[in-house]
Amino acid sequence: MSDQPTPEQIKAFQEKLAKLSPEERKAFFRQQCVFCQIVDGKIDSMKVFEDGLCIGVLDINPANPGHVLLLPKEHFQVGPQVPESTMRHMGMVAKAISNACLKVLKCGGTTIFVANGMPAGQRAQHFMVHIIPRKEKDGHFEISENGAVDDGLADNLRVFIEKKLGIKVESTAKKEEKNEAGVEEPEDAPRPVKEKGYIYFVDEDGDVSRCRMVKGRVKEKQKKEKVLKVGIKRQPNTLYFVDNGLNIRMTRMNRSGRKKAGKEKRDVEKKSGVGIDDIARLFTK
């Protein structure tokens, strides 16, 4: 990458390209592209997946262990060139590989990433989908939130997309106007706050109830009072509690200590699907 071609070289190259017929051009790119050679098997790679349309290999400079590149077998430079059927197919495969990463690599999430064009960070001349197993706070892909918000842009873009695709998208701006002119929608009722002198708990219906405490204890015949209707389904072996924001939280209670090796093994065998604990961890935050 260190020696950049001079402008003359680029010009000469472009002229040379223009002379080639489409087939020749295709063959030329195929010869030049490292990833096409990987697809053809001319360069060694760590292949993890292959079918008729695409191939998955491990990245040699991975962001995290298990970083998979999903490549279409045909040569495309950027996403817009990829035909619909291939794109759909790759989407399904990407999901399946992401699923496999979650299952096998004990990661708490995946990122699926596509870069089209140099400014987007594309470095190879071959369209690819990155599937990257993620660990907490690994510092990759932090999407900043500092961009300008522009309501006018949405309308312009909507009109553009409508024209381009020949469809009609209902504007949300109109709805808002109606709301302003007519009846205002009631705002969300403010959530009750935890008050002092009460103990909050999750009752049998899965709602939040509270009970008055006297001298740090709950008297036996105190009335229970419902505060929030949530209606969660309670599961056995789980401890539910109410946090300061009146959200219901839960932890799993584990009666069998981890020391029992036999028990643990059995548990592992039960997990036939994606690592349930992994997924559960995704949700409970």
Partner: protein
């Protein structure tokens, strides 16, 4: 369960069809940052059915192509953060489509990690094993179809279990 941010009506809508809505993100990385979300509620990508997932990629690709023309973008990123460890903040599957320009100060790259060959080999074997049974699309043989369905049922059961366990 608290109401999902993306399931209700969205502001700044730019695209809609039967199964997807796309809108400008409330706190965008750059102007024109689009989120594409399925209308049906899925928390993570693993719950999204195969055909919907394929369609999602297709629509994302179309929108990203349009961004080149509409906003004069020099590049686009399509990014799905899946799971809280990857920085997913809203529990609803969403595809980020970000128009890029030279020098826009977005850093969506990663620092490559050096890995031993041995370690890579282990990961390769593990993934290879796990990816062996991936069969995508309609061209499936019948017995395999049944197998896959069974797996799906299993999967949906644990998904339900986890979801009902949540407040």
């Amino acid at each position: 369960m608290s109401e999902c941010e993306y399931c209700g009506s969205v502001k700044r809508k730019v695209f809609e069809n039967n199964s997807f809505v796309a809108f400008l993100k409330e706190r965008p990385a750059v102007a024109g940052h689009i989120l594409l979300v399925p209308k049906q509620h899925f928390t993570i990508l693993e719950q999204v059915p195969e055909d919907v997932c394929g369609e999602m990629f297709h629509v994302a690709n179309i929108l990203s192509s349009i961004l080149f023309e509409a906003l004069g973008a020099e590049g686009t990123n399509i990014l799905i953060n899946n799971g809280s460890d990857s920085g997913q903040k809203v529990p609803h599957v969403a595809v980020n489509i970000i128009p890029r320009k030279e020098g826009d100060n977005l850093h969506l790259e990663w620092k490559p990690k050096q890995q031993d060959k041995e370690e890579m080999g282990v990961v390769e074997l593990k993934l290879k094993e796990a990816c062996k049974n991936i069969i995508v699309g309609k061209k499936e043989e019948k017995p395999k179809e049944i197998k896959e369905k069974k797996e799906e049922i299993k999967n949906s059961k644990w998904v339900e279990k986890i979801l009902t366990r949540l407040p």
